[in-house]
Point group: C2
Amino acid sequence: MKNISFILLLLITSVSAQQHPRMIVTVGDINVMKSSIGKYPLFDKTFNEATVLVEAALAAPMDVPIPKDAAGYTHERHKQNYTEMQMAGLLFQITGKEKYARFVKQMLLKYAALYPTLGPHPAATSESSGKIFWQSLNESVWLVNTAQAYDCVYDAIPPAERNTIEKDLFRPMVKFFTVDQSSVFNRIHNHGTWMLAAVGMTGFALHDTNLVSMALYGTEKNKRGGFFNQLDLLFSPDGYYSEGAYYMRYALMPFYLFAQAVDNNRPDLSIFEYRNGILKKAVFAMLQLTYTAGQFIPFNDAMKEKTYLSPEVILALNIAYKKFKNDPSLLSIAREQNSVSLTGGGIDVARDVSYKKEITPFDYKSIELRDGANGDEGGVGLLRNGTSDDQMLLVMKYTGHGLSHGHFDKLSLVFYDQNREQLQDYGSARFVNVDPKYGGRYLPENKSFAMQTIAHNTVTVDEQSHYQGRISLSEKYHADRNFFSAGDKHLQVMSAKCSNAYAGVEMQRTVLMIQDSSIQKPLIVDIFKVDGNKEHTFDLPFYYMGQFIQSNIKYTAFSEQQKPLGSANGYQHLWKEAEATANGMVQFSWLSGNRFYSVSSAADSQTNVFLTRIGANDPDFNLRRDAAVILRKKSRSSVFASVIEPHGLWDGTIEISRNSSSSIANVTVAASDEQGTIVRIDWKPDHHWFVMVSNGSPSETAQHTMNVNGTVYSWIGNTAVQKH
Amino acid sequence: MKNISFILLLLITSVSAQQHPRMIVTVGDINVMKSSIGKYPLFDKTFNEATVLVEAALAAPMDVPIPKDAAGYTHERHKQNYTEMQMAGLLFQITGKEKYARFVKQMLLKYAALYPTLGPHPAATSESSGKIFWQSLNESVWLVNTAQAYDCVYDAIPPAERNTIEKDLFRPMVKFFTVDQSSVFNRIHNHGTWMLAAVGMTGFALHDTNLVSMALYGTEKNKRGGFFNQLDLLFSPDGYYSEGAYYMRYALMPFYLFAQAVDNNRPDLSIFEYRNGILKKAVFAMLQLTYTAGQFIPFNDAMKEKTYLSPEVILALNIAYKKFKNDPSLLSIAREQNSVSLTGGGIDVARDVSYKKEITPFDYKSIELRDGANGDEGGVGLLRNGTSDDQMLLVMKYTGHGLSHGHFDKLSLVFYDQNREQLQDYGSARFVNVDPKYGGRYLPENKSFAMQTIAHNTVTVDEQSHYQGRISLSEKYHADRNFFSAGDKHLQVMSAKCSNAYAGVEMQRTVLMIQDSSIQKPLIVDIFKVDGNKEHTFDLPFYYMGQFIQSNIKYTAFSEQQKPLGSANGYQHLWKEAEATANGMVQFSWLSGNRFYSVSSAADSQTNVFLTRIGANDPDFNLRRDAAVILRKKSRSSVFASVIEPHGLWDGTIEISRNSSSSIANVTVAASDEQGTIVRIDWKPDHHWFVMVSNGSPSETAQHTMNVNGTVYSWIGNTAVQKH
């Protein structure tokens, strides 16, 4: 009996191994899809959209053009082709209509005729160039999609034509990836993930275990490259992906697709449980790195238009939803997406979005995500307050560099409110796929401005970017977490340090979000301490988003003539609109949406203030004309102590304006030494707060005592606020 | 029997005349409201919001402060007070709860104590200053609301206290309006409308027919001022209001409120039928002057935040809905408003929005609205294409000046697509009610920039605004309609002329919206012909909204240093970002939302091009930093022939970009003389259109023949398009 069972099991496994589709969707998934038509509106919508798209493709002349451009017709055509093939394959499976399979077959044969004739792409600019596309990254994406299409129509293609397709297209392409581009393939980077996923998925489609092994363990199968290695090194133990939120969204697609393929074909590897469920942690970390309108926090190279509505997120969320026992916290995002993938998980989501009565909002949290494979290379801190309807979000970045798309932005701050940025991260200077804008690639200003330190809400020293603006140097280091505490909504705090961005300069930034019954929205207190070994120039910008309303400083406006703030390291891109020398606290206000915002900063006559606008030395108009206020202090050491205050109400429809002026009368640094920093905040008309921050080693229990002009201030732990 | 009936009628009339409320809402309306609670969600929402607001007022300390500021606490407090009184009055009527009447009474007594002590407002700046507010306009609004409150609580106030309130507050205020400010009262202007409505409504509340007569016929009752005079002169026969859309919205409130009061008390005047139903025409004209997101077209002084969601529009729409037999085309806007007024009409709207299954979208039309009391002072042309979901709108303004809020913008063009402006009208430089911005008043830059011709998409001659920028001169003239035709969706056209903006210069602008099956969205062809008596400099700006993508011109960018374009008449506010001399067609493109837009203009080496940005000589940062491309031609006469082309697709979420470049290869003026202008448009790769416009007197039947280098072009009527 035991033997019979074993043989039966073998038989089933063997039959199953031969069945198609067998990669992202299984025969079982297809059966569920067939029986779901007309049952779940969200699935029907996706299915109908796919049908419309593929029917249009079937009706149009098929074009597999000779590759030419990096963002023009041929680029877009080849992208469209793989999308159409992938969808046609699925439609063939769901409907059984031969025309869909025939479409895929015919197009694959055209590619099989074209591919062997191709040399390097004519618009290629880098070593990792492709043949169909200007970079091999796009070619990997092409294969990830096409391998799925092939898997779906495999049984409908006669063996002789399968042979042509495999011999002239898949095999040489896979060879190109694993031999010619093995350095990309084995690289710990999203380009490597896409490439190995493409090869591994092709392996499953072609029943080639050797390809699957290379995908899992690297071309040399020594685990120095490959999927497991990437799962080990590209994610921190918290699921943070080293390149940041925007690229995480992109990278999760091959991670999730290939994981699904592995899960379907090599369940013995328990891929979704690997490394304490790192793939689950990753998808939740990615979602925590979005804000209430779905937008990804745009640090490092990032397009601000990207939201969790993008197809990569839909796919990963669908797979995660099914795999991780239908975590209901994902459903509210799925409802916003209003689309599902044609996968097993997509069906589950469509079913539950259609039939669950109450869908709770996604659980946005105040959270720290550590960076580095071991979680000891700094991280990202996120402090939140309020429900998704009216959430404030404060982000500080103190990670490692983040590979080639990283920016020189240690301890940079981003502040969101009212569904939008209020203190922005510029993101990247790029118009993805817009051909007239440098072929849709990263623009020169990405490097000359967007990556530079002065483009961020953090301190630049001596007009030079962190790590001299050198990636090779920056990649060796990271900032460090100091402390993070979000348990008490009335006093959330995050603190980080960086001691290697500049030789001899120690930087520590502590940001507090203080909720108090006396104020409408929480107050943000930002204490940025810099200690140098000699006289330095410290510049701290606030890239506010909105209409400038007022300032308390008497500035000189350059009304008749404008010049750049500096000549290099991003400064050359800032018009100097006005300049001032402070005389006590510097305060400025802007209007954005339905609120006013004010920044009030401790300052003295040694503090200079610049009102700037991006756009100098930008002859092609590649940069947005956004404004900043920059505080400049010259000294060995300094403390930038600022209060960021949302206030009042503005409603243009009913023409109501309330509390358009700040409630802060003064901000001063009462004391700052090795033990701690004490910032005094004076409220109008007559009460004040003392915000105390420890500058020593983090400790929840350490006792601190400081004497300020005869008055003794005591507190326990890393921070405290005394209200008078 | 006859006599008994007559006596009975007299008796009823007399009783009815004594009844309160009797002004905006009647006893009948109140009874309907009482029985509607819990029946119509939209009414319940409004009723509940009013209750929350008034209950909060009852719970707070009552404050009637000594007037001090123009946009600060005391200003806002007095505004809040009249809103609270007006609502409390209605709540008293609906609920019968004495506390609401008591609240109104107590506050009125406080005002009665304060008012006699007041001199001119300390922040007053003009002759038409108020006492409670900095301008008497606000004081009129105060009384319009307070008279309603008084009407509602009249019977609940003991006669002795009524006497105090009338003697110390209403009577002196009415005297202030009708004697001290009689010039405002009798003025043909929205300030006059508010003031006469306030006095007339007070008349109804106080049973004072003399006040009502002054409101109807002017302080001298000679019909040189007063409501009828305003209905005659402020609206054109098409219902266009001379100040433009933004102020029309504001002015319609007193027009509709007072009309409702007149209708309730003097049905013999048939006020809503007056002048062929001018009040109905006005409300529909106002709504046609909005775009798909509800925003008012912002020509003349206007705040762009204003939409048809504002309370003035809700009120007018509600009254109109009931009065004009519940025109269903208003309901879709009412649904967007998601609020109703506490009036009889509000109940009707709430009922029908709640229970009508299908609500058709508001019927936006291509329409011409003539200006001037007799309809012979120019007008506004609006060409539309597409449903409300994806509507293109083109507006040309060729009206009279539009009183004190008019701009020097004859023949100016505004272009909307994707629910937003693509070629903008700047609107006004003002932050209404934002105290730090010049007390919320019009900013100095409103006059120095926003009103000037160069701030508009029309031709400025010799860097001088139309009519030398003098209102006194501009008010004497108007532009003239030439022809308007919107019957054929494939070829809509509007044309206007102006011969008096500059001595010796004739201007004619013809704009065509051409729908063709070969293009995704209609093409706009803009032909602006200027004929001078000597050499002039003609400047035509395009204030595009979005990210600059590319241009075909080789410009010099002022990357290292920026200076203003000129020194006066608005030019001093434009930074010159780049400059070029044309060499054939000038083409530039921008990205906005999900589309690209290109302007392609006929040009030659005599054409200069400036890329500009608003913001020079603006030390207080009062202006938005928006961009324009300005074409400059120097000659006696010239034709600016431009094609405005929406094209392609951009989707940042899925990172798709298609057709980011224009499809126009060339635009040339093939010929232009007294008979007509022929513009040749060359499409990529190889077809072309000839657009022909008559320059003679408008005629649908006139035959035109022009010989262009030996080729003869013939057409019948004002315009024609030949496609090859």
